[in-house]
Amino acid sequence: MALIAEILFSILTGTALFFFCKNLLAIRRNILIGKASFINDHPGRRWKQVLLLAFGQKKMFRNPLVAILHLFVYVGFIVINIELLEIIVDGITGSHRAFAPLLGNCYILLINSFEVLAALVLIACVVFYSRRNIIRLKRFISKDLNGWPKTDANIILITEVVLMSLFLIMNATDPASHFLISSYLKPLFNNFNESQLAIIEHSAWWLHIIGIYAFMNYLPYSKHLHIILAFPNAYYAPLIPKGTMHNMQSIQNEVLYAMQPEMAPTEATAPEKFGAKDVMDLSWKNLMDAYSCTECGRCSAACPANLTGKLLSPRKIMMSTRDRLEAVGKNIDTNKIFIEDGKSLLHDYITIEELRACTTCNACVEECPVSISPMDIILELRRSLVMEESNAPAEWNGMFSNIENNFAPWKFSPDDRDAWTSQS
């Protein structure tokens, strides 16, 4: 019987890890559909970003109360997963609390701290759940989240609550142990005899570990990938001032050759696509951004366009990018290579009206706790609209021709540029 449990457990662990890795590799493949761009300058400064933004959760502390609740969940997640090691050892070898004899009194301290964290995670998740479903904060009831995204968020929170409860129940029903939090739960189980308690403990133990494996394999399909991708995303976040737009070398060269034809290479190079029409025209960092997004909506809550009722929502830009990327990924899975499906990120997933509303104010970028830039995607799509489709509002076309002819966005004579010096 014990041997069967051990074999079953080992198979379960192996299968869970196999599918998890398989899905992660699929996500990696999808991210690398994006255009190559080499980002690895100043590794020292980049590691500092990882420390501050990912480990330190600096941006979360723009709202300290929420940051602390989130910190409980985050620390709880990392620390309680140490316990996972013991669970795996117990599961495979059939031992019970394998680390207890090795660690002595430290073990009690360790489990006590896990229990305190589990309780804190539980409280935080209940608060988070009520912020979404009872208090109904504006950014959580936005139409961005209609349907699956709202369910996704609730599934994650409920799973956390269930997992933490199972962990505490498992300790409470272990007759030999007396830990800080679970000992308060013991009275709940007074009416059970020893063998019943053992069944409850075993069930809680199994459900807990199955729950963890299920959650792990749910991750790649959920908005919750930020627990992994926040770290590389912080590392690869730009180090330059946020106002800087990415330069287009090809156009820089084209202008240079037009002005100084002697500089032009003799062999014509194939014209490349300007800007981004679809996900494969974005950089891999833009695509990693899309997978890192946890749909918290801090960006959209700070977006001047969104909060004055325009169609643009930076969060939705990220969600649409991921949706399109996953569709492209599925297309590749079925056809081996991407077969044109008559759709593109621009127009089919993100509309012109959304793109036109952006003031490039960087509020979305500033707010994002996991170093995402929705603005970068917006600007790349705008480039495609204007340069590939010549699609600009009439006023912008006027502005372009004024700049071209009068060297100013308005129709003034360049000769009057210094007229202010002769005014009183």
Binding site: P241, I251, G275, L311, T360, R382, M387, D418, T421
Partner: protein, 259 residues
């Protein structure tokens, strides 16, 4: 007022210590011209040896680039960098955060490397160096003011303190809006929005921001960008509050207090 151009300096075989990049708004927009003149007056009074490009200045290309027209941007950048490098420009001060951002962050990769500072930073320096002295009874003392952060100065380049320090040096009472500094709300003009109608929505962005400024019940709203200035002025006019709350650029405030 007499303002020397780079061409005139060159003719005399001299080099000014700093180039004042006026920008399109500062050159042509009637309201922004007042800011330009105020800043030029300050430079004169502080004894700064400066020049403008005059007719040789051209749009940096910022609105074209942000609208998506990289060709237009690259053409303007090429032309401007030729002129600036031709005059061997080392240091540029500008009253426009959009020009500031483009010159400082986007021209270097194209071969235009200059020390670029915003006029609020320059004013702070001049005050600290004692080159700007205020009249004993300047009209600003004790007046309340709220400062509207320009996105291209603030989040884009993390300049939050210089404009505030300048206002504080006048003993004005600085009242912060609910959303300020890195959380500052855009005026609605950036990203080439200045040159088109807003998209459909339920409120104009500048009205939203003006409401927030008016909620501080300050005597004045300070701006550090000609576009923000226009947007805030219009927003406050929409609420018919222009009699009580005037929008002024920081340069205009200093120009009125300078000895």
């Amino acid at each position: 007022m007499k303002v020397n151009t780079m061409a005139e300096f060159m003719a005399k075989g001299e080099q000014p210590e700093v180039l004042f990049w006026v920008g399109c708004a500062g050159s042509f927009d009637q309201r922004a011209q007042k800011i330009t003149k105020a800043f030029a007056t300050i430079l004169d009074k502080a004894g700064v040896n400066y020049a403008i490009l005059g007719k040789e200045e051209a749009c940096t290309g910022d609105p074209a680039r942000r609208a998506g027209n990289e060709f237009m941007f690259q053409m303007m950048a090429y032309q401007n960098i030729q002129v600036l490098n031709g005059y061997n420009i080392k240091k540029i001060v500008t009253t426009c955060p959009h020009c500031f951002n483009t010159l400082k962050n986007e021209y270097p990769v194209l071969g235009g490397n200059y020390e670029v500072i915003h006029h609020t930073q320059f004013l702070q320096e001049l005050i600290e160096q004692g080159k700007i002295k205020f009249t004993d009874s300047n009209e600003w003392k004790g007046k309340s003011i709220t400062y509207h952060d320009s996105c291209y100065l603030g989040r884009a380049n993390e300049i939050y303190e210089a404009p505030r320090k300048v206002l504080e040096s006048l003993d004005m009472e600085l009242r912060e809006m609910k959303r300020c500094k890195s959380k500052g709300l855009c005026c609605g003009a950036g990203g080439a929005q200045m040159f088109k109608e807003e998209e459909k929505g339920d409120k104009r962005i500048n009205t939203e921001r003006a409401d927030e400024a008016l909620a501080t019940k300050s005597d004045f709203v300070a701006s550090a960008c000609p576009f923000c200035n226009t947007m805030m002025t219009d927003g406050i006019k929409n609420r018919a509050e222009e009699v009580h709350t005037e929008v002024l650029d920081i340069a205009e405030i200093i120009a009125k207090a300078i000895k």
